[in-house]
């Protein structure tokens, strides 16, 4: 088994075993969405109008959960040192970690989102596009988070700083994702935001592993 697959499987096993965020992200998402009607009241039309934006915001916040420990736990235990001695480039290893994080947070969020959309009275024709937008967009959120996690890896209480660093960078993804769902709800074509969203994810796929690896190497010096 290659180093890359071994690391991916290890992270998936860790996520399953310690109750470390895998289901919690989803529960957090559910709670945020069910809080909205309490805050706004029974104005169903208004809720339905802001639902795309709110669902995307909630997904963004749920993705942030657990990011602070994404690399920190490995750094503290000296596992990142072992990554550096591996024949596999650090860039690919951190990508495996990001993929594991997305598989246990972004993917379940995307699949559950249409159900939660139902609670927010989202237009029926927007349900599939909502799941699609999250499937295409949440990898970008995880990858941006990977950079933040690498930059704050040696800070003991880096979680808040990480959010402050990461959230502004997620603005384009948020705009394109929420726009996509809004357009779909109005029955309009949403190819353009989908393309831009995919473009963001591809761009981050290139930038994030390189930046995160550089940050980890620099943290040692």
């Amino acid at each position: 088994m290659s180093a890359w697959t071994a690391l991916l499987l290890r992270d998936l096993r860790l996520a399953r075993r310690v109750g470390a965020g895998a289901e919690l992200g989803l529960v957090f998402f559910l709670i945020l969405v069910s809080l909205l009607p309490f805050a706004i009241g029974a104005d169903q039309r208004f809720i339905s109008r802001i639902a795309p934006a709110f669902l995307w915001l909630s997904a963004l916040l749920a993705t942030l959960l657990g990011l602070d420990r994404l690399l920190q736990a490995d750094e503290e235990e000296g596992v990142v040192d072992q990554f550096l001695l591996s024949g596999t480039p650090l860039e690919l290893l951190v990508l495996a970690k990001a993929l594991a994080h997305w598989l246990v947070t972004g993917l379940p969020l995307s699949l559950a989102a249409p159900l939660l959309g139902l609670m927010l009275a989202i237009e029926p024709q927007a349900m599939a596009p909502l799941a699609l937008s999250l499937l295409v967009g949440t990898p970008a959120l995880t990858l941006i988070g990977l950079i933040g996690a690498a930059l704050t890896v040696s800070l003991k209480r880096g979680g808040l700083l990480l959010s402050v660093l990461v959230l502004p960078l997620t603005v384009p993804t948020l705009i394109f994702g929420a726009t996509l769902v809004k357009e779909a709800a109005l029955g309009r074509p949403y190819t353009t935001p989908l393309m831009l969203l995919g473009g963001m994810t591809l761009l981050m796929l290139v930038i994030a592993p390189v930046s995160a690896a550089a940050a980890l190497r620099h943290a040692r010096q």
Binding site: E76, V79, L85, G87, T88, Q221
Partner: protein, 214 residues
């Protein structure tokens, strides 16, 4: 278990350190440091606390860049970086809580180009066989140390860099470390260990850091 102790297919490269200097903060830890080490040799690093033993090992491992001087390995196998030829065992064992001892060693073996199937045999070899299926967070410090040592055997690499390898180990464990070092060197491997415990080996090399303060 002879095959477990061999340093692998790759022969150990020789190490040549020339004019190495390193400062941490405003303090110079060492300068003009020259070390030559051939395959099959064991080097013991000593020196008072804070004189740069761990820093030197991390420099040799390639985690840090020196302020001056060079660290050369030759010959290296084609396409291999120095990091791929060495094991680094530091204060942190590289074990993740939440995984069993076996899964930890198997993952590290995969990461380091070894065979995860050897994790079990390696754990038995270091006397941690009965601990294989326990999550590492329930192990004592000495038991964790043994589990950490298992990766040296599960992923054979010619160079071992050991930072305080005796920490937390009982008498048996210390004897085990001496035995592992001796057999690794005998098989043509190269070992650098930072420790004040006697290694009890014939023709061992010594380098003491922290001469007059600079």
């Amino acid at each position: 278990m002879a095959p477990l102790s061999t340093p692998g297919r790759v022969p150990a490269p020789a190490l040549a350190i020339r004019g190495l200097a390193m400062a941490r903060g405003y303090r110079t830890l060492f300068r003009d440091l020259d070390i030559d080490l051939a395959p099959g040799q064991v080097l013991q690093l000593t020196g008072p606390n804070g004189t740069g033993k761990s820093t030197l090992l991390r420099l040799i491992a390639g985690f840090l860049r020196p302020d001056a001087g060079s660290i050369r390995w030759s010959p290296l196998p084609e396409d291999a970086t120095p990091g791929e030829c060495l094991h680094y065992s530091g204060h942190h064992e590289g074990l993740r809580d939440g995984l069993t001892a076996h899964d930890n060693v198997a993952t590290l073996a995969s990461l380091l180009g070894g065979d995860p199937g050897r994790a079990e045999a390696a754990l038995i070899e270091v006397g941690a066989g009965p601990l294989a299926e326990l999550p590492v967070e329930v192990l004592s410090a000495g038991q964790r140390r043994r589990v950490a040592l298992a990766r040296l055997l599960a992923a054979p690499r010619p160079v071992w860099l050991l930072d305080e390898p005796f920490t937390a180990l009982d008498r048996d464990g210390q004897a085990l470390v001496r035995r592992l070092i001796a057999s690794h060197a005998q098989a043509g491997g190269l070992v650098i260990a930072a420790t004040h415990q006697p290694l009890d080996l014939p023709d061992i090399r010594h380098v003491t850091l922290g001469g007059p303060a600079s």
